[in-house]
Symmetry: C2
């Protein structure tokens, strides 16, 4: 009997925003896997830390941050091989994922490599999008409104077109793209409705009108713009 | 001291996909509020049922389903007044919300009425979008991909334009709009990539290629289309 792979969403950062299912799987795990970026601390592991059983085996995927994709993909090859060895030995493996595994999550690269050979269960998690909205007190979408989710690194012309054509908007991965995003949003006349959220639900969370956002934004930051023309909201 | 209002996301339906925070708040609640649609059973209450303390006071908002908005808004006025009375009496109120409170949730109408007078905490939940993706085994978005979320009741011309311009897509509230959506998606040549998901994470869940979806779809159904051109996925 081979083991089962779980891709477990941990939510946006506050440990009690993981699901009951995620907590139960982590507490019962004998093998845990998680990514680290370029040798740094694992954010995913830090969310789950209090629940990881003493003595659990830990498979660390150290993913290099390069513009070229091949080095990161080699790290996923290597990690998938180590996870496969545990699964082949009959052990279940719980892979820790920030947010939701299928929403900008690196677990997708493990899923692509392992889902045909092994049983995989993906446990969805609270995404940063609704966590930021909750913390900022901004209802996102009602009734027949549309929601557009855009990554901040997109080119300026594309961002301009997409933001202009959207209703409610969440712009992720703001980081060093903040000045460009602020320019685009300002030119479109949306600055009054734009809110900047950094590290939502964590102790060092920041929520500010975009116009007052700091110059240096971390990777885990977001801009929310809501339609806001429903007279009942 | 007035009480605090909690808008608690319960996730997509499986009770263990609510967050640890949601479960703790429900287990400790003395007053619970939730909506029902036109006198039907409350889906939100059914998700939380096993955790609601015996003897908790229950405030039921019976929301009529009419095309006109005024009758539903009168029900929110009435519900908000009853919740306000409990808060004024110093009791905390836990309002149960399917999915996430700020993502197409009726809690937004209570938030609009009560957030200026009372302390409100919104607890985000797992949305149906990532729950459907998890169950269907469909990674949603990676890297710099965009995600568009559209409600199925939008007019056909707008759906056609929005779907054509999107990368990954989640179309919610499919229900009786299924034939129209199937036509649009077929004409755009996207049928092979479109998956139909009904009641994700519940025992009567259905997952099918859109081409094989049933004629009669329930309100809680979704169509997912993913970009799917990343060679590493």
């Amino acid at each position: 009997m081979t083991g089962r792979l779980y891709g477990v969403g941990l939510g946006p950062g506050a440990p009690d925003l993981m699901t009951l299912r995620a907590a139960r799987l982590i507490e019962g795990a004998s093998v845990i896997a998680y990514p680290t970026l370029a040798g740094g601390e694992s954010f995913a592991r830090s969310i789950a830390a209090d629940l990881i059983p003493a003595g659990a085996e830990e498979i660390v995927l150290d993913v290099p941050m390069t513009l070229e994709r091949a080095p990161a993909q080699a790290a996923y090859d290597d990690g998938a091989a180590r996870i496969a060895a545990a699964l082949d030995a009959g052990k279940d493996v719980v892979c820790l994922c920030e947010g939701d595994p299928f929403f900008y999550g690196s677990f997708m690269y493990l899923f692509a490599r392992l889902s045909e050979r092994f049983e995989v269960e993906v446990v969805p998690g609270v995404t940063s999008v609704t966590a930021c909205a909750a913390r900022a007190g901004m209802p996102l979408v009602a009734r027949n409104e549309r929601l557009t989710i855009l990554p901040g690194p997109l080119p300026e012309a594309e961002l301009t077109a997409r933001i202009a054509g959207a209703e409610s908007l969440a712009i992720l991965k703001v980081g060093r793209h903040l000045p460009k995003l602020r320019d685009v949003i300002g030119r479109l006349g949306l600055m009054d409705r734009a809110v900047y959220v950094e590290r939502a639900t964590l102790p060092n969370e920041v929520i500010l009108p975009l116009a007052k956002a700091p110059e240096a934004a971390p990777y885990f930051s977001m801009i929310l713009i809501t339609k806001g023309d429903d007279p009942w909201l």
